[in-house]
Symmetry: C2
Subunit: 646 residues, 2 copies
Amino acid sequence: MKGRGKDGLPPKRVVKGSTSKMNNVQSQVFRPVPFPQVTINDLFWAPRLRINREKTIPHIYAMCKETGRIDAYRLQWKPGMEKTPHQFWDSDVAKWIEAASYSLAGFPDPALEAVLDTVTALIASAQQQDGYLNPHYTLVEPDKRWTNLRHGHELYCAGHMIEAGVTHFQATGKSTLLNVVCRYADYIDTVFGTEPGKKRGYCGHEEIELALVKLYSVTGNQRYLRLSQYFIDERGRSPCYFDIEEAPDMHKLGREYHQAHLPVREQTEVVGHAVRAMYLYSAMADLAYIAEDQTLLQACKRLWDHLSSKRMFITGGIGSSMYNEGFSSDYDLPNDTAYAETCAAVGLVLWSHRMLQLECDARYADVMERALYNGVLSSVSQGGKTFFYVNPLASHGDLSRQAWFACACCPTNITRLLASFGHYVYSQNEREVAIHLYVQGAAHIHIQGQQVVLRQETHYPWDGHVTLTVALGQSATFALRLRIPGWCSKATIAVNNEPIDIQAMSENGYVKLERAWKHADTISLHLPMPVVRMYAYPDIEADSGLVALQRGPIVYCLESVDNDIPLHKFVLPRTSSLQADFESNVFEGVVTVAADALALDTSSWGNTLYRAESPEMYPARLKAIPYYLWSNRGISAMRVWMREHP
Amino acid sequence: MKGRGKDGLPPKRVVKGSTSKMNNVQSQVFRPVPFPQVTINDLFWAPRLRINREKTIPHIYAMCKETGRIDAYRLQWKPGMEKTPHQFWDSDVAKWIEAASYSLAGFPDPALEAVLDTVTALIASAQQQDGYLNPHYTLVEPDKRWTNLRHGHELYCAGHMIEAGVTHFQATGKSTLLNVVCRYADYIDTVFGTEPGKKRGYCGHEEIELALVKLYSVTGNQRYLRLSQYFIDERGRSPCYFDIEEAPDMHKLGREYHQAHLPVREQTEVVGHAVRAMYLYSAMADLAYIAEDQTLLQACKRLWDHLSSKRMFITGGIGSSMYNEGFSSDYDLPNDTAYAETCAAVGLVLWSHRMLQLECDARYADVMERALYNGVLSSVSQGGKTFFYVNPLASHGDLSRQAWFACACCPTNITRLLASFGHYVYSQNEREVAIHLYVQGAAHIHIQGQQVVLRQETHYPWDGHVTLTVALGQSATFALRLRIPGWCSKATIAVNNEPIDIQAMSENGYVKLERAWKHADTISLHLPMPVVRMYAYPDIEADSGLVALQRGPIVYCLESVDNDIPLHKFVLPRTSSLQADFESNVFEGVVTVAADALALDTSSWGNTLYRAESPEMYPARLKAIPYYLWSNRGISAMRVWMREHP
């Protein structure tokens, strides 16, 4: 990745201020191995990333163009004209720029780079004299700037544009957009803060907080770090800024909706809008890392524990309620009305990944993997051009992916996540390399003065055998941390065919192999992945008496296209064997699951709606497919949880 | 009941036109034995009716007075004043008048009669020169009369006032209000109809249709029958009147909401707002009866079959969705979000009772009984002064009865139903008496030239023994039809200690005992009522794998006040015995149910939300109470359906 030092830290040449704190990374924390140093050539992710590159990124650009999101920056809209620039539009364009930039970093594409040049120049041309940048508030409501932080999304859009500017610079070395967002951030810093004359506000939709940390990381300008810290520290203080600005509580959802009900360090429960929450917590984790803020780390850990133990679907989806697009109450995890917004699952990946750098604990990686392989990946079709905004765990066949949404946050979020997927596979610090995800390919790592190539060979997630080989010039002593997934209870490891005592070598779910590694050392990891019946915590009423199927990290579902019997009539005996088959002709090849089950019989009921005799059942074969694949073969009913016969 | 002939038919003295059709009742159809001829002295209903008389009726009058509903008829409201007369208000006052009148008919009360005199005189004073009567449209929106039939509720209010006028006249012999509603109906008849210059409209909320049949029955004026027929015939025709009047579709629920999507004779599925639907179908059944309209009878039978076999809760509640306060799709019967409006269950009783007169088929009585003992009776507290508007089948403890509602249709509906409860127990025609409900007390019946007193001795619904004795001057030949409830599979009957072959004597769920009855003949009916496990049709997903408890007509529920374990953790083994106990110290004495069950154990789960091991269970005793009694001992969680361990 251009513009970055080879160790993945911000390049010195753009550092304007001191980055001593940032470089003073404690040896026990990790940083991601940047995705341009990670190659992926497996049969699972590589095709998805190719589709993202070849189909999704162009599709999203076309939609942004068609809907007026790009041309809004010409600032030629006038009242009465169509395609009125909307408050959110900047964020869509910005996330597309991020996705396209990530893509360019790994796969040079002069045509795409030219489009990016044009778009970024156009955006630059729309920046106001004072640094402000937002077509909606420049053209449509010019007198409303910064008057409705609660719902206006100005700082949210600024945040996404800052992320875009940073990523575009890192990927291309071009500072067109980076300079724009620095000017914009400088201006924002003159507007917001605790100093007299400044507004003590913060955005109703968190995002700028994590973006400013990125801007600090790439520029080294402490001003951005301090501004991020200000936004984090101010949120939830009394009196609440939303009351001061008298912004209407449009959705009547209270301060919790914006995580502004308490100072963030006092928050113990994940509440409110799920995407807002994830972006906030990600920024808190960033500041815990960059500024070594233990109080933020403790808050993050409490919140993460709460989320992962009480408010997460088995798919890694989060946010139970359409009402607030977010959290409801503990264990309230309904399947058919699950909101589970795509952006929220993406946000959970962003946050969990940050937590994983702070503490190399497999529970963060387990959740990240669960979301990636299920609730995130479900959001985009195999063709790459249609998307789910919500990802419920059951459907009666009334849901299908859409090519676009008026509020297009989800398509743009999934595309930027997939474009940077390699980012999530490995981490390192000065003496250790952690392998979080098993994906065939390689990582190019600089450690202990050596360039090391760590190669993975595996058919994960369809097969649990992983062969890791180490290539390096000279022997070097460092540790490899291999994650033992939480779903796997019988892992085995051998180094150069010598078995390893996993129990003895485990730390927080990772097997730590520390030694003087020499060229061609080979690690054989075996993660047996039978199909298992999964049960939900008994307070999740929606899943009581029900069972889900999981194999490795993949959660399965029944889809009506594979099953003649209405899905709610299936009853799976606890003792029936579950058969996994690799079907090479289903998409790029997937493992499906079949089982001898029972089906509820209605033939003896006549017109009776309630009766004293229990329903009869007859034998029926069921077939399940990976959840992420559902709704790719036409309109279909689906369910993850099915009734069990104990 | 004053003003009525001793055979329950309209008294001749008020008949202005021909009632030949109405008196020409086919011998096979029945008419209710009017409730003033029915005495009730049991331990179940009699206390409820006393509370209704002594607490509920005065409470509702006080609320109507306090909220301005009574004083609205002074027509002194002016813009800017408080207590703006609302579109619905007339219906609340009217239903209170009905309830109070019913009460007076059985229990003379000079003080109440004086209040009624005052209120009816006040209402009469508010009638306009042309006969119009509605304070809202007279004072608040005087230029909007008949402009919004879709949502305006004018004809709905007129209908309730007509019912009030009829009942007040029947109960007291006073024609103050009857004259008012006749004038009003005459005026309405000049406004609506197919003749040139008339509006071809009908009300968005059905009610006037059944009211006009009542007005015809008491006055014999064919004009009212024809107007009712017009409203029924016009509904659902193309073009839709709601489009013609350009009334906004306020709730965006379409014509189905008003059952105006098809001509009523072509309707095959119960749709839309549940109360609206029940009132429409009741009127259709009335016209099928009065006008011997076979096409309406067939439509009613189709719709009733659809409702009772696909869209009814086990409590007799109907209307699954808060969204439209009505029906959703077949078998969509969610427990915690069930709307099951009180008025809809009352409406189901009204309709089923009408169907029962047309065809003496126990399935109508079974549904009527199911609703009465469960989904209707649940709506009012034991104290009689608080009410449920919705009657879900599960609650997390966030629901309690309220003293009043801005939209107060439910309290006023339950009170008028209870005040006329005796109406639902017996029917007769020229040669037969049908006993639909088992309630200790007596019926005074004129049949075959004899005055017959039919006496019931029973502790129903707590005990299934019923002793019927016949008292009459001379022996007379007629048939007694005794309903064998659908919940009872092992009924036995003896007449004067001679066993009866039930199978041989049954017609549509009634045992027909036809003979020359002589004084002191005794019928012993035994309806064994063990506690039974009830199962829902397998397409009701909400109840899959669950079981409910029922004993006799009473549906049971778990309430948290009786159970230390969170209710969703109970699992009832299919084989555990169910113990029924009469607890004399619980309210007026009720049968509760206890069982050895299991409870889901969370102790081994730690922070795990999903795992591969099925949940453990431990033995736990559960206690269930009648559903209708829930939420009478403070805020409490509740559920009807519980998980079963097969």
